[in-house]
Every structure is written in C-alpha cells, then in structure tokens.
C-alpha cells in the first residue's frame, strides 16, 4: 500500500513538474498577439543602405518573410 501511495505521489509530482516547466518555457517567449489572418501592421524602416523600406510597398507584388533577429553579429 505504502509503495502504491509513493508511486502515485511521485507521478503527481512529475506531472506538476512537467506543467511548471511548460509554463516557464512559454513565458520565456515574448509572444506576439498577431494571428494568422491578421493584416500585418505596416511600417517603414531604414535598410542597411539607409534607404527606407515600407512593408505595404510589397502588397500585390510579393510575399514577405519578416525575420526578426536578436542582434547583428550573434547567432540569430
């Protein structure tokens, strides 16, 4: 009996631990509120040649992949 109780408690603890680490991982990502189907908020930013680039200029012409990276000269 004692063994079964220990097993059940152990299992519960494992499940709880799993849940906590899952939450922690989710918190670690700065999640965007934007969803599939939303219109991407327009912007104009300076490119590396100092020329402005406007997202909506590609409308009707190109698909655009926005690749946000942390910092230049780092791995991503």
């Amino acid at each position: 009996m004692k063994r079964i109780v220990t097993a059940v408690v152990g299992l519960l603890l494992l499940m709880l631990a799993g849940q906590f680490s899952a939450t922690a991982q989710e918190d670690a990502i700065a999640k965007t509120n934007l969803k599939v189907g939303d219109v991407a908020p327009d912007f104009t930013l300076l490119a590396n040649d100092w020329q402005p680039v406007k997202l909506s200029d590609f409308r009707g012409k190109k698909n655009v992949i926005l690749a946000f990276y942390v910092l230049a000269f780092t791995d991503g």
Partner: protein, 103 residues
C-alpha cells in the same frame, strides 16, 4: 534563397541594430536581402515581440526571434517564434505553397 525568389517572396531581416551595424553584418554573412533597422523599437513594440534580456545585471529589451510570413494581400500566413524561428524551412515551404495557383 533561389527557392524563395522563384516563389515571389522577399525576405526582410529586422533588428534594433543601426543601419551601419546592419551594413557590416550584411557584408559579413553575405546576405542578399535587406536588413532593416528598428532603432526606436516601433515595429518590435507594434508586433509585441520585445523580449527582456539580462546582461550582467542590466536589463535590455531586444527582439524575440520571430519569423512572420505575410502574403501579397498583406495578411499574416504564418508565425513562428523562439529558437525554431531560426530555421527558415517552414517559412520557405509556406511561400512555395502560396505561389501555387489556387485551384
């Protein structure tokens, strides 16, 4: 990249580095697409992807690694965040798919 050009897709890299830093970075990694500079964090804020970082006790806010695919109508087709967003394969696959004529 050739796959992307064939699927009518452009890539825009975005970070809060200066255009000068991005120019040097672009040269170093030999990218052919523009690297955009969000120095005042307006786009990172609008897209809700500013992430707090702690470096030696000081707090910073930089971009979360994020890949967003925007179709020709300006609509978002795909969002990927975190370390998985470094790998562009799924974004490329989606753009190739968007390029196929709709039946």
């Amino acid at each position: 990249m050739a796959k992307l050009e064939a699927s009518d897709t452009v890539v825009l890299g975005i970070s809060l580095d200066s255009p000068a830093a991005n120019a040097a970075f672009a040269k170093q990694i030999a990218v052919t697409f523009p690297l955009l500079s969000d120095m005042n964090r307006k786009v990172l804020t609008a897209y809700g992807i500013l992430k707090p970082y702690d470096v030696k006790g000081d707090k910073y806010e930089w971009a979360e690694r994020t890949t967003i695919v925007v179709d020709k109508e300006g609509k978002i087709q795909h969002v990927e965040q975190g370390n998985g967003a470094v790998n562009p394969n799924s974004a490329v696959a989606i753009c190739t798919d968007l390029h196929k004529p709709k039946s």
